[in-house]
């Protein structure tokens, strides 16, 4: 189970309190009725699904209830940072995404942020 830092509560809390909410920084087109089917499919269905660094939204649904953004490594499941909704995409700290798969949760749980 992941430990996730809520940038509003400013606390590390268990993953059970959170709901994953998909890729971050996708803006709904303002002229949604005018865009083409291709553009709608791009907005609505197509996702990066990165192996490595990903930007995603989480919601602290059993806590403050607010959405926020996170940068996470999808290979190790390690959170690199979390930041408040509405802020622009943040550069990740120098350590960056890890290459190796971490085999157990125990290996990541202690330092998950």
């Amino acid at each position: 189970m992941l430990l996730i830092h809520c940038p509003y509560c400013e606390e590390d809390r268990s993953e059970l309190e959170f709901r994953w909410a998909g890729e971050a920084h996708i803006a709904r087109p303002e002229n949604i009725s005018a865009i083409s089917d291709e553009e709608f499919a791009e907005f609505f269905f197509l996702r990066n699904n990165e192996k490595g660094l990903t930007y995603e939204r989480w919601r602290h649904i059993h806590g403050c209830g607010r959405f926020f953004n996170a940068a996470r490594d999808t290979v190790s499941d390690r959170f690199l940072m979390t930041y408040k909704a509405g802020m622009p995409k943040q550069p990740v700290p120098e350590t960056g995404a890890s290459e190796k798969t971490v085999e157990t949760y125990e290996a990541t749980e202690g330092d998950a942020r």
């Binding site: 993953e15 709901r19 499919a41 699904n49 990165e50 192996k51 999808t74 499941d77 157990t104 949760y105």
Partner: protein, 417 residues
């Protein structure tokens, strides 16, 4: 290839078993092939086999990053069924089930297909209405599926708790008798042996790192850890890593990859005669021929390539198993593992052409790809050979996310399937 038979066993018994040959060869890659398939799981190996067998295309390589059958083919809970709601789904899963029925004979390899029945438990009025709708749709389409009362369900699975005071009371069940299980490793090995015998090259420990494109955008081949390998046709069958491979050709696919976990218990004497699934409380369980209870858990909520998963996902499933089958409460679990599933927005697979000429995709099988292995492989081979989908897979195109013709099994089943 020497065929396996009772005579072969007798002959080898006389010769101290020194005459068995390797099941498949491991050649060095040629500089070019007619077709390259990325991913040596059941779907990829099967596609290579059917390309050789049904379409006469034998200059084929299957390229695998790790070892053959080491991904989701070796990590699933081996459940086979075809009782889906929509015609597009029934077409492909029933095609697959019919191939399962003759697969051991076709491959001369015992895949241990066991039609022991797949029972889906109903716990409330919504379940009952939904399952009866499935049953009616299936029967109208010529697929077996029947409704059981709680007493009939208990007669089929004696360890089931159908008491009125149960934590998850049961008001009926849907049973597909032709559903069941098969031996997952044997499926990969059987297809590999039969494909290798027909001249297909299986290249393991060779990671595809790029897809080379020509001036008109068409594929020229793949960059790999063993150098460039040319091919005019490339089929991507990379399961959880489909997004990563397709990105190499600049194609975005509507997938998200999540870990799905399974676990097995210590071996028990035969006690569990079929597969039981409960969508509502999310548990599914069967017993392998070795005697282990094979239990499928859920997916984690977030994208991940970690091939592991959260402990709370397993305990959630075991909670349900212990309530449905109180006799299993003191069984010890022996092993747990995870695989990366590629999920589409409508929970139906994608098999079809892509915007890149010569590039074909077979992905999005999500949490239920094993049952589809023979059918998917068979139709993927047709797609690659002919350049257009088979009638039975015509609805599974990548383009459906633009046109809006979704096959919404996600809403039909209301859970991962």
């Amino acid at each position: 290839m020497r065929r396996y038979s009772v005579f072969a066993v007798a002959r080898e018994a006389m010769r101290a078993h020194k005459g068995w040959e390797a099941q498949w060869t491991s050649p060095e890659p040629r500089s070019a092939y007619d077709v390259i398939i990325v991913g040596a799981g059941g779907h990829g190996l099967g596609a290579a086999y059917y390309l050789a067998k049904e379409h006469g295309i034998t200059n084929v390589a299957v390229i695998e990053k790790g070892w053959l059958g080491g991904g989701n083919t070796g990590r699933n809970t081996t459940i086979i069924r075809s009782n889906y709601l929509y015609e597009e789904s029934m077409d492909i899963y029933e095609h697959s089930l019919k191939l399962w029925e003759g697969l051991s004979q076709d491959l001369n390899y015992n895949v241990m297909y066991s039609p022991r029945g797949v029972m889906m438990l109903s716990h409330n009025t919504h379940d009952m209405q939904s399952f009866k709708r499935h049953i009616n749709a299936n029967r109208l389409y010529g697929i077996d599926n029947e409704w059981l009362t709680p007493e009939q369900a208990k007669a089929y699975v004696p360890v089931l708790d159908i008491s009125k005071t149960a934590r998850y009371p049961i008001n009926g069940a849907a049973l597909q008798r032709r559903g069941g299980t098969a031996r997952h490793d044997a499926v990969a090995w059987g297809y590999a042996r039969a494909a290798s015998d027909r001249g297909v090259h299986i290249i393991q420990n060779c990671e595809v790192t790029g897809i080379r494109r020509g001036p008109n955008g068409e594929v020229l081949g793949v960059e790999t850890s063993k150098g460039f390998i040319g091919a005019k046709k490339i089929g991507v069958s990379a399961a959880g890593h489909s997004s990563v491979v397709m990105e190499m050709a600049g194609v975005r696919v509507p997938l998200h990859s999540t870990p799905l976990q399974a676990l097995v218990s210590e071996p028990l004497k035969p006690i569990f005669p079929c597969v039981v699934m409960s969508n509502t409380v999310h548990a599914y369980i069967s017993q392998s021929d070795k005697g282990e209870l094979v239990i499928g858990a859920g997916t984690d909520q977030y994208n991940s390539y970690s091939q592991t998963g959260g402990l709370q996902i397993i305990t959630h499933t075991l909670d349900a198993i212990c309530e449905l089958f109180p006799i299993f409460r003191r069984v010890k679990m022996m092993r747990q593992w995870g695989g990366i599933t590629d999920n589409t927005p409508d929970r139906s697979p994608i098999q079809g052409v892509t915007p890149v000429p010569g590039l074909f995709v077979n992905c999005g099988w999500g949490t239920g790809g094993f049952k589809a292995t023979p059918g998917s492989a068979n139709l993927f081979a047709h797609l690659i050979a002919k350049g257009e989908p088979h009638r039975l897979a015509a609805g599974l195109t990548l383009d459906r996310f633009r046109t809006g013709r979704l096959i919404d099994e996600a809403a039909a089943a209301a859970v991962a399937h």
